[in-house]
Every structure is written in structure tokens, then in C-alpha cells.
Amino acid sequence: MHGLTFDIAHMLAGSLVLVSFMQLYQDRLYALLNIFALHALVLAASVGWQAFIQDAPHLYVTALIALVFKAIIIPMALHRIVVKLGIHREIETVVGVGPTMLLGMGLVALSMVVMLRVTADADPLAREDLAFALAVVLLGLLMMVTRRNAVSQVVGFMSLENGLVLAATGAKGMPLVVEISVAFSVLIAFIVIGIFLFRIRERFDTVDVQALDRFRGERR
Amino acid sequence: MALIHDLLFQGAEMLLVLLLAPLLTGFVRKVKARLLRRQGPPLIQPYRDLIRLLRKDVVLAENASWLFRVIPYIVFAGTWVAASLVPTFRSGLLFSWSADLIAIIALLGSARFFLALAGLDVGTSFGGIGSSREVMIASLAEPAMLMIVFTLALIAGSTQLSSMAAFMVSGEAGLRVSLGLALLALIMVAIAENARIPVDNPATHLELTMVHEAMVLEYSGRHLALIDLASELKLLLYVSVIACLFTPWGIAPPSAGASAIGIGVASYVIKLAVGGTLLGLFETAIAKMRVFRVPAFLGVALMFGLLGTLLLFVSRSL
């Protein structure tokens, strides 16, 4: 029995990493948004599973938030933003997709190495989960720094945060998980609104580059 | 009693150098004239000049300051005191320990300092030439002299002229390379300090070449007399320093009878004569050099001095 629960949890977490990779792979915005929805979905599933095996009912709330807010609302909002602001449909990358994937591999390996140094007596479930969570977090960051579109960066941030939630839920009996996920949802809402308010068409870059050159006393 | 006795000798010494100084100058001139097949002025000509100058009244430039009038006395007094501190015919004079060789050189330095100021006081261009060249020469001559003092002091273990002379006459020093170098350097410095050929020509008033004369250009009458006397004293001083350090024979010890002192005086006069003759020979033999060759000339002296000091350690580690 325990073996099965472990395997399922493991599988879900692993698939989250996989989805992160799929995100890295995308070069169309809409596709990216869809993949992110999938990401959130998988997260919801794994959180739900954790709730089940730890029989911690409050985790279901987190799962629900993940499902409704991240898998449905946010992607739709972003969709609308893309339409409204007429953002290019394809994603400008700093590093090509191939190298990005390789970097991603490296990061996953790194997170494995780091985590496997954890002594095994801390229960394996947590250990594996953490390894995957770390991988997701790093991949999210990688996405933020290698994609130029504001939208894709938001997506990156959100998948990073999914990793956090995964870790938090994986940590058996951790308090405040729900609060934290709420807090983060607020944070993301802020970001999305911010993008909408500031009319950040293409990238975060534009804002401050222009500001630097036009407004600041710090002109070179 | 002893004190009076010593004072007596000190006074005698002072008078002696004062009297002999013009004579030495006259003698050198005579020698040079003879070497040039000229009759030359009589030996006592310098005395006559001095007396004549003293009798004339002073013609002072309009904007000459009080300093300008005081300086001749300072220069004369400084040089005279310095000269009378050198043991000539009798070592261990009363005041000889009141200033060692370094102090004597410094005394001459003060005299030069004021003389250079005098050159600048009236505010003429020639005075400026003289002073600036004089201090340039001095800035090389003084270190050279100090190096020589080092060499000798390290050999004799003292900077006190009397004890140095005593050491030399005792023959412990022996014959050394350092001593030779020091002697050479000392002679070169002496020539430069006394404004003799080849560094300077005391007999010229050709503005581009003169150094010492340019400084004292504005002086006249008794002031000029004092300054001339001072320079004559300086020449005597250097000759007698060389004599007392390198040919210390015949200098009477402090506890000496009349005969010894007589010998001392006689030998001293002879030394002066020899020194004067050699100087005359040297001066007639070579020509004056350009002003900006002088640094090279004195640099050689400096090198000799330094070399002498360093060679000491090699020849005998003290």
C-alpha cells in the first residue's frame, strides 16, 4: 500500500517537472498558456493526492485554489491581456530553446545531486518530492531569465511558485500551507494587474530601459 | 695662569692667520706671475689694497638694506673664527674643542649663506647670477666635504682637528687608498670653495664667467676690504686644514716649549709656501671650465669622498 501511494506521489511530482520542460520548449504564447494550465492541473492533482494520503483536509483548499485560480482564471486573464495589448504571439528567447533545454537538464541534475546528499532517514517521499520541487523552482527561474515576454515571465514565476506549493504540500503536516498559497495567489494577481496597468507590451525590459534613458538623473 | 696662557696662544693664532692670509694670496699671485714670466705685484700688494680700500668711503646702492651693510662683518667674523679654530702651529688650542671640523665647515657655510643674500639684496641681475651659481656649487661642494670628513673621521675616530692631527702624526693611519682619495677630493673642494681656476677666476670681471666676484659686485670701500680679507682667510684656512691633516709634522703639542713652538711656526709657514706654490702651478697649468661643467668636477670630488669612505670598510673593517 505504502509503496503505491509513494509511487503515485512520485509520478505526479515527476510529471510536474516534465510539464515544466514542456513549458521551456514552447515558442507560441497560447500554447505556453495552455501548458501552464496543465502544469497547474498536475499540481492540483498532486496536492490533492497529498491531501488524501496525509488525510489533511485543508490541503484540498490548496488543491482547489491551484485548480480554479491557476489552471483557469489566470491563464484566461493572460489570454485576454495578450489579445488586448496585441502582444506578439511568438516568444522571443534570449537563449535558443535547445540550449535552454540543456540548461534545464543540468538544473534538474543539480537539484538531484543536492537533494540526494540528504540523509535517507528523512523519509524518502519528502526527499524525492523536494528534489522535484527544487527542479521545478529552478526551471521556473530559468524560464523567467531566458524569456523576454512579460507574459512568459509571469508564467515562469507562477511555475516557480507551483514548485513551492509542491514542496510545501510534500512536507508532511506543514502548517500555513493554505495561507501561503493564498498569499502567493494575491502576489500573482498583483503582477498580472500590474502588467495590465503599466501596459507592458513586450517585456519587463522596456519599462526601465526607457525610464533609465528618459527620466532618471543617472543618464550615462 | 694656564687659562691666560691658553688665551694668549689663541690670540696669537688669530693674529697669525689674520696677518698671513693676505701674504699667502700675494704669494700665490707672485708665483703665477713668475710662471707667466711677468714681474708681478710685490708680495705685500694685498695689504696695500686692503688699507687703500679701508680708507675709501663706501658707495652704497640706493636700495641696499641694513642687511647689506651688516653682512661684510658677519662674513669676515665667521671666516676669521673658522680659520683661527684650525690648529696651525700648535695643537690643542683653547677653543679648538668648541667646534670640530664639521662645525668649521658649517661656519664657512653660514658665511656663504649671507654673502649669497648680499648678492640678491641690491636687486641687480649680476648679483643674482653670482648667488645662484654660488649656491649651486656649494650644494655639491658641501656634501663632498662632508664625505671627506667622514673618511678622515672614520680613520682617526674623531672629528676634532687637534686629535685628528695627533692621530695622523702618530702614524697609526699608515698609507691608505682612502687617505689619497680624501686628499684629492679635499683639494678639488678647496679649489671650488675658494673660487680658483678652473671653477672660477678671482681676477675676472667678465660677467658670464664670474661667480664670486658677481656676488660682491656692489660692495666698495671697507665692506669690500672685509670681504676680500675674508676670502683670503678662507684660502689660508683650506691650505692649513690640508696641511694639518695630511702633513701634521711639526705642529707643537699643547705642552710645548718655546723652541717647539718656533719649529711649529716655521714649519707652518713652509707648508703654506709649498701649498701656495702648488696652487699657483696648478692654476697656470689649466684653463677655466664652463660653469655647467663644474657639477661634473665636484661630482667627481663627491664620488672620491664616498669611495674613500666605502673603501675603508674593505681595507680594514673598523
Binding site: 519587463f204 | 640706493e62 662683518y73 667646534a99 649663506f113 636687486g123
Partner: protein, 674 residues
């Protein structure tokens, strides 16, 4: 007990600052504030000087110590007056008193007193505190505080851009020096931080450590004292301040720096290996010669004086280096002689350098000129100032019978003892250093012939110089007081040497033979057969023979005197412009030394025959030390800032990349961590 009284004095000085601020706030009460501050500091410094003198005289009985509950907690502020401190307190407060007296007159002409008055007493207090401090913290605190207050005084005339720049460089160098000293004390105190000097004295440091600390002390104290090549700030900052402050900085603060070096090198440190003394010696020699050569090339009177401070610091350090060498070889007598020579020169230099700066200040006041090329003939307009200045010139040129000569003579005597040193390096180095010393002395004489001759003698070169007026009585009083001290210290050195005996005993365990007993007040460094000097006798001797000659001539020969136009080989030259200027006076020496040291080159433009254009002679000189040492640093920092400045203008994504990279790097570190 003494130290408590001194601390009261310091407190009084500190208390003056706020009062000065209040008084100086309203312009019409500036005069009151000025006389209050300077009068007050005059009184206090005189008191402190007497205290110092007393404690120096009765030193052998007791060292007075006090600990205040301030400063570092768990340590407190230790203050202590021993022989060394007492001597330097004397120097500081003597200079301070003279400066205050001078400023009583001079300060009245200050046009922005509210920028000078509050800082002046604080500055004096800080210098006193440095000398009294007996633990690392109080020492460095007072040390840096001294720099800070003097910085405020340097930029008192802040509307002149050069002054602010000078202050900037000064502050940087001061910070540099302080940090060097801080590192040194860090080594001495160890990681558990026993900063009290007593603790440091008792804990014996290894030779290597001692050497390192010695070098740090040389850098730290040397940069404040103006040791070449750390002197760059000095000729900029000292002239920038008001003249009485310049006098304090040059005459007194550099001595406080020397004190710092002595305190560390002789008192706190175990004796380092002999060859470190070679560093000090060669630095001293180079400093002496470089300083005077720089000075010869100047025609700004105050800057010339500042460069001479560098020279004299070099001479002092030669003495100290010799003393270290002798000490390292266990020759206490010789060490005592060298140390005494150095300390006596400290005293002398503080006297005549203050005197000279006062003179320069008086001239600046009377003519508004610091550039010698615009002066001349002042001896007619301000004879008393001229006389005092002349005394200073003779003294600093190391000419008998004044005091400068005595201390240099003693240094020479110490040098003559060098053959007894066992180590060959020193055997060869010391005579060479002696040569440098002699060279610097001769050049100094040349330089002051120029300084005095060009600015006081000759004919006025500008209307300002022609209309100069004699300065006020207070300033004159200060100058003549110092001039008298120069003479006294010159003809009665024995007294001063005996006063210095306890210092030598305390630091090198020995002191020079007692001088007072000798007949005719002669001084004998080692033995009468070796060498002896009697300034008094020489002085009397010269004066007597001079006056006898004058009397005799005026009585027997003529005493008539006619005024006539200058003869000058028959060239009539109406214009004062034909006089020798400072730069033309220095030209032969510049040709001899400058070509190599400053890359000096003269470019003469002759107009073609018949052309009416004037011929020009331009002299180009490079300050090699500045070019080699300081410029690259400035350029390097400029370059680094240029490059790093890019980081202000990145995009958010790039900043995130920085964070990301940092994270990955740290994780990698974890991954490969054993």
C-alpha cells in the same frame, strides 16, 4: 596627577568650540569670538606646556596614568604621560601657544572666521589627546579626529576650488594612514582585542610580526608625517589652511605623527630585525633629499615651506632609523645619541617651521601674495618680520650658531658611529645616507637663500609688494619669541639634551652623557676626544670678532658712506623685472638635479632676427612620484567605476539573471562540498 590636569586643559579647549560657534554666528561679534578663542587657547596651551615641562623634569619620580570610563566599553580610555609623551606635549603646546599668539593678530583679518574658530581649539585638543592616549582605540580616535578637524581648517576657504581639492586628497590620505595604523594595532592586539598599551607592551610579539607592524606604522604615521612617497597631500593641504593653522600642521601635527611612529616602533614593539631599520633609514634619506629638491622648484612661499617640512621629516626619520639600527644591535649609547638627535630636531623644526609660516602669513597679509615672483624688497617695508624670517631661514638651513645645526650635527655624530655596527648592509648604507643628509642640508641653504632673497631682498616686483606694511604687534611678538627660542636652543643645546635624557632612558635603556656639568657649556655626544661643539662660545666668538672689527674700522679707518645708483657693471636697469626671479635663481640647480629627478626640460623660443616678438623660455617639469604612484590609482578607480556603472542600467530580467546565477553557483558549491 599631571595627566588629569592636562585632560582638564583639553576639556577646556573642547569647550571653546561650541562657544565659538555661538559667538561666531553673528558677524558683528566675530572680533570678540576671534580674540576669545585665540586668547583662550593661548592661555590653555601655555598651561599645558608648563605641565608638560614639569612632568618632563620630574619624570623619573612617576609616570602619571588615568583611565576614564569612556571610549571602548570594557576597556575605558587610558591616558598616560611618560617622558616621551611629556616631551611631545611640550612641542605641541609650545607650537600651539605661539600659533594662538600669532593668530590674536593674524586672525583678525580672517574673512570667514566662523569656519576657522570652532575647529581651531578642537584641533589643538585632538593633538594633545593623541600624545596622551594610552590604548589603541583612544589613540586612533584622537588621531583621526585630529585629521578631521584639520581637514575642516584646510577647507575653511572653500570657495577656492584648489583648497577643497587639497582637503579631499588630504582626507583620503589621512584615512589611508589611519587604516594602516588600525591594521597594525589589530596585529598587536590580537583577535581577543587587548587594546591597552600596557597589555601590548607585555605581550612580546615575534620578530616577523614586529617587522610587519613596523612597516604598517611607517606607512600609517609616515603618510601623516609626509614621508616620500606618501607626502603628496602635504604640500597641497598645508598651504591651503590659514597661516597659523599651516604652522600648526607643518610644525606640530607632523611631529605628532612622528610621535606615533616612535610610540609604536620603540615602545610597543619588540625590537625587529636590524634590516628593517635599513628601510626606515633609506626612506628617511630619500625623503630628505626629495623634499628639498621639490622645495627648490617652488615659487609659492607657503608650498616651499611645506616641502621643507617633508625634508626635515626625512632628517628626523634618519635619526630614528639609526637609533633602531643601534638598538637592534644592542648599542644603547649610540641608539640614545641617534634618538636624541632625532627628537631634538623634532623640537627645533617645530620652532623654526612655525616661525617661517608666521612670516609667510604676515607677508600674505601685507601683500595678499604667496607667489614669490610677485614679492621683493619687503625688508624695507617690514623690517622686523624680515629679521625674524631671516633667523628662521638660518636655523632651518642648519647653519651655526642656531638650533637647526645642532640637531643635524648630532645626527652626523651618530652616523659617524656606524662603523661599529656589525652588519655590512648598514655599514654601507649609513655613510650613503650621511651623504644624502649633507646634500639636503646644502640644498636647504640654497633654497632659503632663494626664499629670503627673492621675497624680502631686491626691489619690489609688484605694487602690492611695494605698498606692504609691517604686521601687527601680536604676530611680531609670536615670531620674535620663536626666533629667540631658535637662538637659545642653538647656543645652549646642553640643557635641551639633558631634558631629553629620560626619554632615551625609557625607550632605548640608555641616555646621552650628562651635558650640564661640562665647562663652557660644551656638548659632547660621546667623548671629548671624538667630537664636541660649543654653540655659545662660537656665537660669542663671532659676535666679538665682528664687532671688534667694525669698531676698529670705524674708529681707525673711514666710516663715511654715500648713496648712489647700483653699479651692476655699468648696466643701468630701471625695471625691477630684470632682477633674478625665484625660478631663474633655481635654474642652475634645476639643471644639475632636476633633469633627472623631475624630467625638467627648458624650451627656448628665439624669434628670428629682426622680429619684434619676445623670446620665451618655458620650463616643463613632471612630478614623477605623482605620475607613477597616484595617477594610476585614480585612473584605475575611474575605470572600475566606469565598468561597474553598467550594473545601474540593466533590465529587470538581467537582474533576475544575476540572482539566478548566484543561486545556481551556491547550489553547485553545496553539490561539490565534501
Amino acid at each position: 596627577m599631571m595627566v588629569v590636569y592636562s585632560l582638564y586643559g583639553v576639556a577646556a579647549l573642547l569647550a571653546m568650540a561650541p562657544i565659538a560657534i555661538v559667538l561666531g554666528a553673528s558677524p558683528h561679534r566675530a572680533g570678540v569670538a576671534t580674540s576669545f578663542v585665540y586668547g583662550g587657547s593661548l592661555i590653555v596651551t601655555l598651561t599645558l606646556a608648563t605641565i608638560a615641562l614639569l612632568s618632563l623634569s620630574q619624570y623619573s619620580s612617576s609616570v602619571s596614568i588615568v583611565t576614564l570610563p569612556i571610549g571602548l566599553p570594557w576597556l575605558g580610555a587610558h591616558f598616560r604621560i611618560d617622558a616621551l609623551a611629556a616631551f611631545f606635549l611640550l612641542v605641541v603646546n609650545l607650537g600651539g601657544a605661539a600659533a594662538s599668539l600669532f593668530a590674536l593678530g593674524y586672525g583678525q583679518h580672517e574673512h570667514s572666521p566662523q569656519r576657522v574658530l570652532p575647529f581651531y581649539p578642537v584641533y589643538l585638543a585632538a593633538m594633545n589627546l593623541v600624545v596622551m592616549a594610552d590604548d589603541a582605540f583612544s589613540f586612533l580616535l584622537s588621531w583621526e579626529f585630529m585629521s578631521l578637524s584639520s581637514w575642516a581648517l584646510v577647507i575653511a576657504h572653500h570657495r577656492v576650488n584648489e583648497n577643497v581639492k587639497a582637503g579631499y586628497i588630504y582626507l583620503l590620505m589621512a584615512g589611508f594612514g589611519t587604516l594602516a595604523l588600525l591594521l597594525g594595532f589589530g596585529l598587536l592586539a590580537g583577535s581577543d582585542g587587548n587594546y591597552a598599551f600596557d597589555a601590548i607592551r607585555t605581550s612580546h610579539s615575534s620578530a616577523a610580526l614586529a617587522a610587519l607592524v613596523l612597516i604598517l606604522a611607517l606607512i600609517g604615521a609616515g603618510s601623516k608625517a609626509g614621508v616620500v612617497p606618501l607626502h603628496a597631500w602635504l604640500p597641497l593641504a598645508h598651504p591651503a589652511a590659514p597661516s597659523h593653522v599651516s604652522a600648526l600642521m607643518s610644525g606640530v601635527m607632523t611631529k605628532v605623527a612622528v610621535y606615533g611612529f616612535i610610540r609604536i616602533a620603540f615602545d610597543l614593539l619588540g625590537t625587529p630585525d636590524w634590516w628593517w631599520s635599513m628601510v626606515v633609514l633609506s626612506v628617511g634619506g630619500i625623503t630628505a633629499v626629495m623634499g628639498v629638491l621639490y622645495a627648490l622648484m617652488q615659487h609659492d612661499l607657503k608650498r616651499l615651506l611645506a616641502y621643507h617640512t617633508v625634508e626635515n621629516i626625512g632628517i628626523i626619520f634618519i635619526g630614528l632609523g639609526l637609533s633602531l639600527a643601534f638598538k637592534a644591535h644592542g648599542m644603547p649609547v649610540a641608539a640614545a645619541l641617534a634618538l636624541t638627535a632625532g627628537l631634538f630636531h623634532v623640537f627645533n623644526h617645530s620652532i623654526f617651521k612655525s616661525l617661517l609660516f608666521f612670516g609667510a602669513g604676515a607677508v600674505l597679509n601685507a601683500t595678499g601674495e604667496r607667489d614669490m615672483e610677485h614679492l621683493g624688497g619687503l625688508i624695507h617695508r617690514m623690517p622686523q618680520t624680515a629679521f625674524a624670517f631671516l633667523v628662521g631661514c638660518v636655523a632651518i638651513s642648519a647653519l651655526p650658531p642656531l638650533n637647526g645645526f645642532v640637531s643635524e650635527w648630532l645626527t652626523f655624530q651618530a652616523i659617524l658611529l656606524s662603523p661599529q655596527l656589525p652588519s655590512w648592509g648598514l655599514k654601507f648604507l649609513v655613510p650613503a645616507v650621511g651623504g644624502l643628509l649633507a646634500l639636503s642640508a646644502a640644498l636647504a641653504a640654497a633654497c632659503f637663500v632663494k626664499a629670503f632673497g627673492v621675497s624680502f631682498l631686491g626691489r619690489p616686483r609688484t605694487p602690492a609688494a611695494a605698498k606692504a606694511r609691517e604686521t601687527d604687534s601680536n604676530s611680531l611678538a609670536a615670531m620674535f619669541f620663536l626666533a629667540a627660542l631658535c637662538l637659545v636652543a642653538g647656543i645652549l643645546p646642553g640643557i635641551f639634551l639633558d631634558a631629553l635624557a629620560p626619554v632615551g632612558k625609557a625607550l632605548v635603556g640608555m641616555s646621552m652623557p650628562h651635558q650640564a656639568g661640562l665647562q663652557w657649556l660644551t656638548i659632547v655626544p660621546v667623548a671629548e676626544s671624538r667630537s664636541s661643539y660649543n654653540g655659545l662660545l662660537v656665537f660669542i666668538f663671532v659676535v666679538l670678532s665682528g664687532s671688534i672689527a667694525a669698531f676698529a674700522i670705524h674708529r681707525l679707518a673711514s666710516d663715511k658712506l654715500r648713496r648712489a645708483p647700483a653699479w651692476d657693471c655699468g648696466y643701468p636697469d630701471p625695471s625691477p623685472a630684470t632682477q633674478y626671479t625665484a625660478s631663474s635663481f633655481a635654474q642652475p640647480i634645476r639643471r644639475v638635479y632636476g633633469t633627472s629627478v623631475f624630467r625638467a626640460c627648458e624650451i627656448g623660443e628665439m624669434p628670428p632676427p629682426g622680429a619684434t616678438a619676445p623670446a620665451r623660455l618655458t620650463v616643463q617639469m613632471h612630478d614623477l612620484i605623482w605620475d607613477i604612484l597616484y595617477k594610476p590609482i585614480a585612473v584605475g578607480i575611474g575605470y572600475a567605476t566606469e565598468k561597474l556603472n553598467v550594473l545601474q542600467f540593466l533590465t529587470i530580467r538581467r537582474y533576475l539573471t544575476l540572482v539566478f546565477t548566484a543561486l545556481v553557483l551556491l547550489l553547485l558549491v553545496l553539490a561539490i562540498w565534501p
